[in-house]
Each structure stands twice: as structure tokens, then as C-alpha cells.
């Protein structure tokens, strides 16, 4: 192991890691909001909205992420939509994660016991009150583990946007080892950085699960 070399390149890697964190975070937020919106459409009574989301999830899950990135970066311009690489990357990651978040949210929402919902209806709550005061709060806990799991996937998938030259951690690592030929050192360090980012998410999950355990779900 050439530790001085790692030390020399560490600032570049850490800077790239910030880019990874940035695009992951923005994609996580927009992907989650989009996923939530799609979830409401999916559980709505409107048949066209349901079908739209069904098809969306079908397309996102059924095609490679890499293809989706290329489609947004190289195919959209033929329709006049030209996005800078980093924006295209964030859009791809957001659209992709939303497709997975939909089913995570939907599963948690539909798992809320009917009795809890009926108690809200019986007291005179309107449907949206039942949704926001009962169903969504009760969905958080069961949605948490798969939600964090998918978010960790998102962070790892962000490495794929290196193919459109977004200078995030993976791209930067590749350019360093292709000039230094020290693959083990650079990839090893990048791996540890990914691991550190995802450990934060993992710890967040454990912490939130504890915080939300003031009640026992029967």
C-alpha cells in the first residue's frame, strides 16, 4: 500500500465525495417527494392515475439505471432538452429512486390497520385528515427500513453518473488511478468513503427506529 499517495490524492477524493453526497442528497429529497406524489396517485381512485404510476414503476424497474442515465443525457437533447451532466445525473437518480420509493410507501400505507382508519372516520375526520393525521404517521415506522435501504442504493447508484462525466467520487477515482495505476489504493479509499456515507444512513435508521418505538404496534 502506497499510503503517501493516498494522502496526496485524499483532498481530491474528499472533494469528489462532497459531489457524491450533494447529488445523492438532492436526488433523495426530490425522489422521495416524487415517490410520495406517485404513491398518492397510485392509491387514488382515478384509474388513469393508477395506470400511469403502474407503467412508470414498470419502466423504471424493468430497465437498467445506466440506460436511464444515457436516455436523459443523450436522448432528451434530440427533443431540445439539453441538461448539464450533473443535472441530468440528479434527474436520472431522482426519477429512478422515485420508482422504487412508490412501492415502499404504498406497502407501508396499505399496511395501516383498518381499525385505526375507521376510528378516524368514526370521529368525523375527513379523508385527508385521516391520511395526514393517522395513516402517514403510522406508516413511517414500517417504511423506514426499506426506505433507508433504497436510499443506500441511491448513494451507490450515484456512482453510475460517472459515465456522463459528472465528477463525483467514482469518476474522480477512475481518473486518478488511470494516471497513477494505483488501483487498489484509490478504489479502496473510495470504497471506504462510500461505506462511511452509507453508515451514516444506517445509523440514522437505527436511531429513528428507536425514537419511534414509544408505542408497540399490535
Amino acid at each position: 500500500m502506497d499510503f503517501p499517495l493516498i494522502w496526496n490524492y485524499l483532498p481530491y477524493l474528499l472533494h469528489a465525495a462532497l459531489v457524491t453526497i450533494g447529488i445523492s442528497f438532492v436526488s433523495l429529497v426530490t425522489g422521495s417527494l416524487l415517490g410520495l406524489a406517485f404513491t398518492f396517485m397510485r392509491i387514488s381512485r382515478s384509474r388513469p392515475l393508477q395506470i400511469f404510476v403502474w407503467v412508470y414503476v414498470w419502466l423504471i424497474r424493468g430497465t437498467p439505471m445506466l440506460l436511464q442515465i444515457f436516455a436523459i443525457y443523450y436522448w432528451l437533447p434530440t427533443y431540445g432538452i439539453m441538461l448539464p451532466a450533473i443535472v441530468a445525473g440528479v434527474v436520472a437518480l431522482s426519477l429512478n429512486s422515485a420508482g422504487y420509493y412508490v412501492d415502499i410507501f404504498r406497502a407501508a400505507i396499505t399496511a395501516v390497520p383498518t381499525g385505526q382508519i375507521e376510528a378516524g372516520q368514526a370521529i368525523g375526520m375527513r379523508p385527508w385528515q385521516v391520511m395526514f393525521r393517522i395513516v402517514i404517521p403510522l406508516s413511517v415506522r414500517p417504511a423506514l427500513p426499506p426506505y433507508i435501504g433504497q436510499s443506500i442504493n441511491l448513494v451507490k447508484n450515484s456512482s453510475l453518473v460517472s459515465v456522463i462525466s459528472v465528477q463525483e467520487l467514482m469518476f474522480t477515482s477512475q481518473s486518478i488511478y488511470s494516471s497513477t495505476y494505483r488501483v487498489a489504493e484509490i478504489l479502496g479509499t473510495a470504497g471506504l468513503i462510500y461505506l462511511a456515507i452509507n453508515t451514516v444512513l444506517q445509523v440514522l435508521q437505527t436511531w429513528m427506529e428507536k425514537r419511534l418505538s414509544y408505542y408497540t404496534v399490535r
Partner: protein, 246 residues
């Protein structure tokens, strides 16, 4: 006498299976009506039609003088349900809210009461069911009997015209049934209008002023408890009474 609940030839079916047939029933203000009968008789469905958790398909239902329209929207339904309290067999307290918030939520978000007023009302009701000391606890920390008493307080907080009890003690440990029946008896003494589906025959006999006997989706008999339990008229009712007294 003011009629709170009026069923006029009400019917309901799930597909081809009729679950309520030609129900005629009137519950006046201050009435405590005990609904009894074998399982599958339609007792719970009858109750759930009152607050329209189940919609009926034929006949007319009037709650506090207002006809419940078959095409009532969510707004009309919410207004109706705010006037009708319900206590469920499995309590159905909201586990993510404290006991106090469980009781306050209705007044706060349905009646639009200011926080202070809702809290005062909720605390008074929790005191009434003997659980004021538990107001900061969560439902998961309470026994079944305590949870059901909170559920009663939650229903009362809406100042309903009538409270529906759907086998409120059936899910309880036998040792905890008494504390819930005690609260219900107290309510009856305070002239709360109650429609009570129950398997507690002693309670029905002592607290109800009228017994409705159901089987096969029909009301087969309606009589004061002393009459019903000593001399049931309908053969199925006779059989039922002899069994539960057996």
C-alpha cells in the same frame, strides 16, 4: 321523545348475501338499547350502518332527524359521524398519539376547538374514566381495559348524540371487563343515548331499557329486558336465551 336513530325498512347486502333485512328501529334520546343475538346475526353491521362505516342500499336512515342520503359525500358523512360516537371491539386507539392526544384529536381537528379548550375537555373526560394520571402515556403502555376506557373518553369528547358500542368488552381479559362495564353503566345512568352490541347478558339485562334480538340479518324481537329475558317470544330467541342462561 326525540328520535336519535331511525331505521325505516333498511336493507344491506354483500353481493348476493343479505346482511340486513327490513330493519325498523327507533332509538330515542336517553335510550340504552342492547343488541344481542348469535354471531353472524348482523349486529355489528347494524351498528356500522348507523355511522355509515357501512353504507345501506335500501330503506331510509335518519340520524338526529336528518336523512342519510345514499350519495352523501365525505363532507356530509364526516358531519354525521361527528354526531355519533363509536367504541370498537379492538379499541383502535391511535398508537402514535399519547392518551391525551387520542382524546383531543377529535375536538381539535373535527370540531376545531382551540388547544386549551380541547385539552381541558379531554382531561375532564379522562378523569371521568379514571385515567387522568395516564394522559401522557401511549396506548401501548396501557392494559386493554384502560385502552377501552380511553376509547370511550375519545368518543365522549365529541359530545355525540349517541354512542355505539361494538362488543366493547369482547376482546378484554375477563378480569378487565368489569372496569369497562362500570364506565358504560355510569354513562347509561347519566342518560347517554347508547346502542350496545354485547355478549354480556347481565349488563344488557341490568342497564339496557330495551333489548333488540337479531338473527340472520333481521330484528326478530324487541322488548324491555325483563320481558325479553323471562319470556322471549320468537323460537330462535327462546333457544338463544336458554343457551346463554344455561
Amino acid at each position: 321523545m326525540t328520535a336519535i336513530i331511525e331505521f325505516d325498512q333498511v336493507g344491506k347486502r354483500y353481493g348476493d348475501v343479505p346482511v340486513l333485512k327490513n330493519i325498523n328501529l327507533r332509538v330515542d334520546e336517553g335510550d340504552v338499547v342492547g343488541v344481542i343475538g348469535p354471531s353472524g346475526a348482523g349486529k355489528s353491521t347494524l351498528l356500522r350502518v348507523v355511522n355509515q362505516l357501512e353504507r345501506h342500499q335500501s330503506g331510509t336512515l335518519r340520524i338526529a332527524g336528518e336523512t342519510v342520503e345514499a350519495k352523501a359525500g365525505s363532507r356530509e358523512l364526516a358531519l354525521l359521524r361527528a354526531k355519533v360516537g363509536m367504541v370498537f371491539q379492538s379499541f383502535n386507539l391511535w398508537p402514535h398519539l399519547s392518551v391525551l392526544d387520542n382524546v383531543m384529536t377529535g375536538p381539535r381537528c373535527v370540531l376545531g376547538l382551540p388547544r386549551q379548550e380541547a385539552e381541558t375537555r379531554a382531561l375532564a373526560l379522562l378523569e371521568r374514566v379514571g385515567l387522568k394520571a395516564f394522559s401522557d402515556k401511549y396506548p401501548g403502555q396501557l392494559s386493554g381495559g384502560q385502552q377501552q376506557r380511553v376509547a370511550i373518553a375519545r368518543a365522549l369528547a365529541m359530545k355525540p348524540r349517541v354512542i355505539l358500542f361494538d362488543e366493547a368488552t369482547s376482546a378484554l381479559d375477563p378480569a378487565l371487563v368489569g372496569e369497562v362495564l362500570e364506565v358504560m353503566t355510569q354513562l347509561a345512568l347519566e342518560r347517554m343515548t347508547m346502542l350496545v352490541v354485547t355478549h354480556e347478558m347481565r349488563f344488557a339485562r341490568q342497564v339496557a331499557n330495551r333489548i333488540v334480538f337479531m338473527a340472520g340479518g333481521e330484528i326478530l324481537e324487541e322488548a324491555p329486558p325483563e320481558v325479553f329475558f323471562s319470556a322471549p317470544q320468537h323460537p330462535i330467541a327462546r333457544q338463544f336465551v336458554s343457551k346463554v342462561h344455561g
